[in-house]
Amino acid sequence: MRFSEAVRTGTLEIFSHKMRSFLTFFSISIGVISIMYSLTLIYAMTSRTKKALEVAGPGRMTVEMKRNGGSDSALDAKEAKSVITLEDALAVRSEFPGLYMVSPGLKKWVELSHGQFSDEKVVEGITTEWKKRGWVYKLRGRFLNQHDLDTYARVCVLIEDGGWMKKPKWYKFYGWRDKFQDYIKHNDMLGQTIRLGNNLYTVVGILREPPAEKNPKYFMGVSNWDPSLLVPITTSQRFLNGWAWSSGGVDDITIDTGKEATIGAYKRKVDKFIKARHGGRIRFEIKDYREIIKERLADKQRDMYTVLIIGAIAILAGGIGIMNVTLATIYSRIKEIGIRRAIGASRGDIMTQFIIEAMLIGFFGGVAGILLGMAGIQYLASKGDTDMMLLQWWMPFAAIVVAVLTGFLASLYPAYQASRLDPVEALRYE
């Protein structure tokens, strides 16, 4: 039996039972939509992780205070008064010269003004090591140097938004406008003096981010705690007034071992070293970058699983629907099966026919699902869902394959039943 003939017969059959077919299409569609959605999410997560690791380098880890008050049997919370400090960072730096980077950070929420303009911004105090934290910028003027750090210089570097190469439509409506970014775009701040907290600072350099499309950090999700200004960490500690997480110390120390292989070893060494410096009276943790990324993506992962489960149930329901339809079809077509057997069709021919019919139902349902799903995903992307922008061309194909495969599997049993019918009895059936 020619494949095209089976397809034709199947199509005739499907379109002569519109409601029955539609209901099956419907649940297959839902399955296909959720498969596409989950695939996009999975893809977005893996590509973000990959990009984040590319930017960070393979050997990245962070030392920070334990933020949640989880119990630590070895240590009473009241006892643990000590915090990680700039001195810890400097000591780690000199103790382990093999590390590629030891970069402490201290963020403060600071009032800023220049002439009539005023705003509140995150200012991060850093050391010169910061340069090694994934440099994607274009620099005008100069960066902070060791001299600034040593002399508590009141200088700062601004970080300017890179904009878009081609602004997406949604950005106009939903994009969050940052008035500080607008201000520095229209006023050349290099060499100007601005007020941060109670002191005046000179802008010695401006870092321009690459456009959003090319900025690997953009797809990692921008948070409100990303700094707009950088100052020497020593200056920040001595002069800058503003609200900060850490009381007296630093927020975190970002360390890069330079190689993925040495992370584990350095993690243990640094942990022991810092503990020793504080006499054990400190509650901190060292997370390597993979863990941090995993944590950031945990919510999305939960979303994905939920959608995937809904999708699996929908596909399963669709499959049962197909099985039901195929069985019903067989009972209403016993006579036809008898006729086909009498004129020479083998069991295999009959089986093939019903399987192809079911696969067609899967296919049409899949196509319907893809059309709806694509529309939905485009809509989400146009609302600014950056995950949904990462829909890949092969995902609809994968979804179709799943739908057709569902049809195939669901029809095996009914088609087998059909092929086992006794031709004489089937012919006599009215």
Partner: protein
Amino acid sequence: MIKCENLQKTYPLKKGQGYQALSGIDLEIGRGEFAAVTGPSGCGKSTLLNILGLLDNPDGGRYLLEGRDVSRFDDAERSDLRLRTVGFVFQSFNLLPRFSAAENVRLPMLYRGVPKEEAAERARALLEKVGLKGKADNTPLELSGGERQRVGIARALANDPVLLLADEPTGNLDSRTGLEVMDLLRSLNAAGLTILMVTHDLNLARAAGRTIKVRDGRIEP
């Protein structure tokens, strides 16, 4: 061409009981014969036809088709042989209602793997041969009873069978149309086709070359 020796067939009814449809049929039919099988309802005519047409296996005895014992063939072997050597014509035509006349005729060829275009061409030629020129694209519902039976005959001829089995081919037709169909069968027989026809109509039976009377699962002498 056909040789049956002591063919038996029993249909199970209840536990341990059975209905013996054929109780020892001995039959020989030569190439090019036109034989009518007659007998009262339930005498086993249809069972005999089904076994001769390879739709069913006998429980006992031997069935030789062109010298080959086919009585122990399995389903796949029977399907293949049925496809290549036997054509069925039914009382109620048994056409597929959603397909056109030409598509119905084409179907057995497609099962045999004949290319689509070739099959379509041959289907048209066959429909012309049975006197249905110009009706190839009509569906069975748009055809009269006699026309439907002609489509049925054209379909039975699709794979050039050596044996045509007709189960009361005129049973659903008025007598005039029935005679026309009978004429068509006779002309096919004249061209060399072996035909076995089950009928109630003694006039039709007489028109066939030979009459085989079946009673209670046996052939009457």
